[in-house]
Symmetry: C2
Subunit: 329 residues, 2 copies
């Protein structure tokens, strides 16, 4: 895939809560520190200083809270749509955005198109597992409603993604449910369980997984519909953030507790980092004829650099071809 390695990563300079400042800074760091070629996309007057990076100019921006479908349809010269076109036209190996997730999906789907045979693209998100490579949760929110054949494809594609992204040889797949028994769950879950456990599904199915085992999961891939996956992921994030907030409030109680915290902090910092969604390098949209990385809306320059790196590495490793094979095997 030498041709892809020679192509830059297209970065939506206007996506995310801290755009364009942190986005451009992250792109610059990817270029300088990692040697990855980057091209920014956005309206020049809004992007401002590009820090010497190339800018593909466009005239529109889809806002974070804008209706995704309408935004993509109306704003054909928006940074998201143009970034997707750069990938489609073989002018970029991947696109990265921290912007409106729905609009990113819409732009990527409309401009790059689906891999042949894929029912619906889905979002694969890293699940933190301190001390080990992350697990993968799929679908993290692209499809609120799913069929069993969609879930089976999600499992197939997320397995290929786990191998390409984290080097897991034969990723174990868990199906998110409300009990380990195959008889538990919705009709959708029961039907999917039956298909996945058949070797012809082509995945290393390990059974149902419950919500309590998501964080630090023993499963390499956790499959669920986009509604449940989004709720579970946000519940995990919210619980972590809530507990961190309460802890820091305790740490700051008085001089004594602050001194004790100083002793613990060098040991707590790696734990906090391993649970930080920013360190994970973003989520990937699986099932498209091109690489699209969706970074957290609150992405810092570091998060963007990581996401750009992930996009570049996956593209040059031939993830799209791996996904094609996963679907057709």
């Amino acid at each position: 895939m030498r041709d892809l390695a020679a192509l830059p990563v297209a970065v939506d300079a206007m996506g995310g809560d801290h755009s364009p400042g942190e986005i451009v800074a992250g792109a610059k760091r990817a270029s300088e520190e990692l040697g990855i070629e980057v091209v920014l996309v956005g309206p020049p007057e809004l992007v401002g200083d590009t820090l010497g990076l190339e800018l593909v100019a466009c005239t529109e921006v889809i806002a974070m809270d804008e209706d995704p479908a309408g935004g993509v349809r109306r704003k054909k010269d928006s940074s998201l749509v143009i970034a997707a076109e750069l990938v489609r036209d073989n002018k970029a190996c991947a696109m990265v955005s921290a912007g409106n997730t729905g609009a990113t999906m819409g732009a990527a789907l409309l401009r790059m198109g689906r891999i042949k045979g894929v029912h619906r693209p889905c979002i694969a998100t890293p699940l933190p597992r301190p001390g080990r490579s992350p697990g993968v949760l799929v679908d993290a929110g692209a499809n609120a409603e799913c069929t069993a054949s969609m879930l089976v494809q999600f499992a197939q594609m997320a397995s290929a993604f786990s191998t390409a992204r984290f080097g897991t040889p034969s990723p174990s797949v868990g199906l998110l449910s409300i009990g380990e028994e195959p008889s538990k769950g919705t009709p959708l879950v029961k039907e999917t369980h039956e298909i996945l456990k058949d070797p012809s599904a082509g995945v290393n199915f390990a059974g149902n997984v419950e919500g309590r085992d998501l964080l630090g999961s023993s499963f390499d891939v956790v499959v669920t519909d986009g509604f449940t996956g989004n709720v579970a992921l946000k519940t995990m994030e919210g619980t972590l953030r809530f507990l961190m907030g309460e802890l820091f409030s305790v740490f700051g109680t008085n001089d004594e507790t602050r001194a004790a915290t100083d002793v613990l902090m060098p040991h707590l910092a790696p734990l906090a980092a391993s649970l930080d969604p920013e360190s994970a390098g973003g989520a990937m949209l699986l099932g498209l004829e091109g690489v699209c990385i969706i970074s957290h809306g609150s992405s810092s320059a570091t998060a963007m650099m990581n996401a750009i790196s992930v996009g570049h590495d996956l593209a040059t490793a031939g993830i799209t071809e791996s996904l094609r094979q996963a679907i057709h095997s």
Copy 2:
């Protein structure tokens, strides 16, 4: 409701991972420390020492991992079924079990029956909110599949429960979804949103709530189907447990960190307690002609005492009548 206050709480002595020891000990403490009359239910040879408490003898036990429907159907002289019959026959004001959740629901539903007009009973679980009274999550797992009219009744009943249990005057109700906009979510969520926002639903509807806001929620009641609710609740529990485990591992790194932890612990203990499901007093099955409290499977004596206290207080406060009114208003 003087008649109910005079009745004992029926306690399934054989339910839970630590039965009968912790269960009987918790019942004894409820009796001694709180002055609540208690009657144990179980096979005498398995229960053993009742610590002087009354025992209603039966011959069977439904195991924690037994098929709920089959267990309730076959084991008509099980501790769960007999406990439910004591409530039905006005010999107990409430039943409490830390056993097989599905079988507890089945026994309570079959023996007590539904409140007239209730489509399906549901599980209301406390959501920790340190520094404030807990929120209520409903349905926490009774119904994997729901209709909009079921969810609306859950909201109505959980609002009445929030008022009876925590004294919240006009509980705010949030609908669990994947975005705040009414247009987000599954068709079920969108339909429910439309009904709940109409004043005729009789609840204080405050809009959609996301998973990230479950813990420490600003909503007094969070409504969802039993599949999503169960996944979200277990994800929250698992995330808390995982992070606590990682923290304690850091705390024990060396002598220095252990000394620092000793300084922080008096301040951390109240936080941990406020997040502990054991302190919440268990979940309640809403929609039945009688009070049924489901305590955590891992319940200690303290958790059982709390659950017995909650069951007694709700029964004597007339929760069943409040639920009837919530449904018919």
